[in-house]
């Protein structure tokens, strides 16, 4: 085979792809970054919050450059029933200054910025181009990608597949084995709602560039999933995420669930008068650690959503940070394998070791039971109702009857919602093992 055109071809200019391209280009490698949209971010949707600390390694003082809407200084977790809501609200003013914790950002801005960094480091962005399949050597080793451009074959020493949740390339490479991801895939639908900046600041008790990140459980008519509401500078991102199995079984349209959430008594006043700017939808891989594919094959690595690196653990919803971390390590492992002249599966095994030593696989392994717990029927339906009832009864002033104690309320609520003590204990234990 003749010399490859590029040392590395990265497919998909999302956070994983751009981080991979940036890292490989900085290591002195020739890199092509293939993007099927007309510009990076144009095909991408997420809830709206990014945790940028992983960038410390890639972009010193990244917070001075990253296109941020608001810094998250307030995080709320809400559980709700049709008529009730109970919120835990955390405000940490330290999160509003360097080195920052989380930020709301629009994907068109964020992905564009990361892809620009990769290009400044020397990567060649190839937009409006679909990678339609893998090029392989006679022994099956991946040697590049075919594209939908005329004469569009791009040969490479290593292909890094960052082609998103549907990753046709990782499937074609056989990295998923015989498994299918459908059981562990969720659909997210989102509305971006315009509201004047002052109204947002007043309504959500925010100042300057401070922002709110709100996660919601119990808003999906019992379909496993949840909701979110995030503040941007002059818009809100409101959405629901539901498991595809549950959605398929229930016969409800996804945007109806979103309309339910917006009409809820605790959410309606927050979105009142807002105007729909954009409706969007995307799939998420939510199965976690146990549903990840093989991360390396002969001549190929996989990162980001393509490798199911999304964390759906109720109070923690993360993905872009894992994508950036994984992309960074994929780019580094590819460059090291090329330098040693061994891009076989074992030559690329350094990728997995780098991930194991970092938060990417450490967090996913630690939280491997979390998706099962969060998507369970008890967590989805019984506990939100139990907690809301408990709070409502605890704070109810019901004179002249004497106040019932918390223990009696818990016993009564558990019986009313069919929660058994041993379930509560076993779920608490699972939660403790995951989050503890």
């Amino acid at each position: 085979m003749s010399d490859p055109m590029f040392d590395v071809v990265v497919v998909g200019a999302g956070p994983a792809g751009s981080a991979a391209a940036l890292t490989a280009a900085r290591a002195g490698r020739s890199v092509a970054l293939v993007e099927r949209g007309p510009h990076p971010g144009s095909k991408n949707v997420y809830g709206g919050v990014v945790y940028g600390r992983v960038l410390d390694e890639l972009v010193p003082r990244w917070w001075e450059q990253m296109p941020v809407q608001r810094w998250v200084t307030r995080r709320s977790t809400m559980v709700m029933t049709d008529r009730q809501a109970l919120t835990v609200d955390v405000r940490a003013q330290a999160w509003g200054g360097p080195p920052y914790n989380g930020a709301t950002a629009l994907r068109a801005d964020l992905d564009g910025w990361l892809a620009d960094l990769a290009q400044e480091a020397g990567a060649v962005l190839v937009p409006s181009t679909v990678a339609t399949g893998l090029l392989r050597a006679a022994d099956g080793t991946v040697r590049g990608v075919r594209t939908d451009r005329p004469d569009g074959e791009l040969s490479a020493g290593v292909v890094i597949a960052c082609d998103g949740v549907n990753s046709f390339l990782a499937k074609e490479a056989g990295l998923f084995g015989g498994r299918t991801g459908a059981r562990h895939t969720s659909l997210g639908v989102k509305e971006t709602l315009a509201l004047p900046r002052e109204v947002i600041e007043e309504r959500f008790a925010l100042r300057g560039r401070d922002g709110l990140d709100m996660e919601i459980l119990g808003c999906t008519r019992g379909i496993p999933g949840g909701g979110f509401l995030y503040t941007n500078l002059d818009s809100l991102s409101v959405g629901v995420v539901v498991g595809l199995d549950g959605l398929a079984a229930c016969g409800v349209r996804p945007e109806e669930l979103l309309a339910d959430l917006k009409a809820h008594p605790s959410i309606a006043p927050l979105v009142r008068g807002a105007e729909l700017k954009e409706y969007s939808a995307h799939l998420l891989p939510e199965g976690g650690y146990d549903t990840m594919p093989e991360l390396a094959g002969d001549g190929i690595l996989v990162a980001g959503d393509a490798a199911a690196m999304c964390l759906a653990a109720g109070v923690w919803l993360e993905g872009v940070n894992f994508a950036i971390g994984a992309g960074m390590y994929a780019g580094r492992a590819a460059a090291e394998a090329l330098a040693r002249g061994d891009t076989s599966r074992s030559g690329l095994a350094g990728y997995r070791r780098l991930l194991e030593d970092s938060f990417v696989l450490a967090d996913h392994r630690k939280l491997r039971r979390a998706p099962g717990l969060v998507f369970s029927e008890r967590m989805q339906q019984r506990y939100p109702a139990l907690l809301c009832d408990l709070a409502e009864e605890f704070f109810r002033v019901d004179n002249p009857r004497p106040k019932p104690g918390l223990r009696r309320l818990l016993r009564r609520g558990a019986a009313a919602h069919g929660v058994r003590l041993h379930h509560l204990l076993s779920d608490a234990l699972t939660a403790w093992r995951s989050f503890g």
Partner: protein, 98 residues
């Protein structure tokens, strides 16, 4: 539920999204398989409402306003009913906010 928030007509909803129309349909549907499918989950699960049941039990579809999410082929359990790829490079949905 409060009717005020139910007020977005689906066409108005979809008109907030930019699409660059491709000549080539990136979805194809085998109507014969659909006619034998009793569930037709794609009809309610597709967030862009691209699949419409016909009176003879088949499915009509429109590929032009596709979010390219993949929900249709993930939820479809009738073998070979929906074939789904990405639109040609540079075409299809273009999210501005994401």
């Amino acid at each position: 539920m409060n009717a005020e928030y139910r007020g977005i007509d689906f066409e108005d909803r979809m008109s907030t999204v930019d699409f660059r129309l491709s000549e080539r349909a990136h979805i194809s549907v085998d109507a014969a398989v659909c006619r034998s499918c009793t569930a037709q989950v794609c009809v309610h699960a597709c967030p862009a409402k691209l699949f419409v049941p016909t009176s003879d039990g088949g499915i009509l579809f429109n590929y032009e306003q596709c979010f390219e999410c993949g929900t249709c082929y993930e939820v479809c359990d009738a073998e070979g009913a929906i074939t789904w790829t990405y639109p040609d490079g540079g075409h299809g949905v273009v999210f501005r906010q994401g």
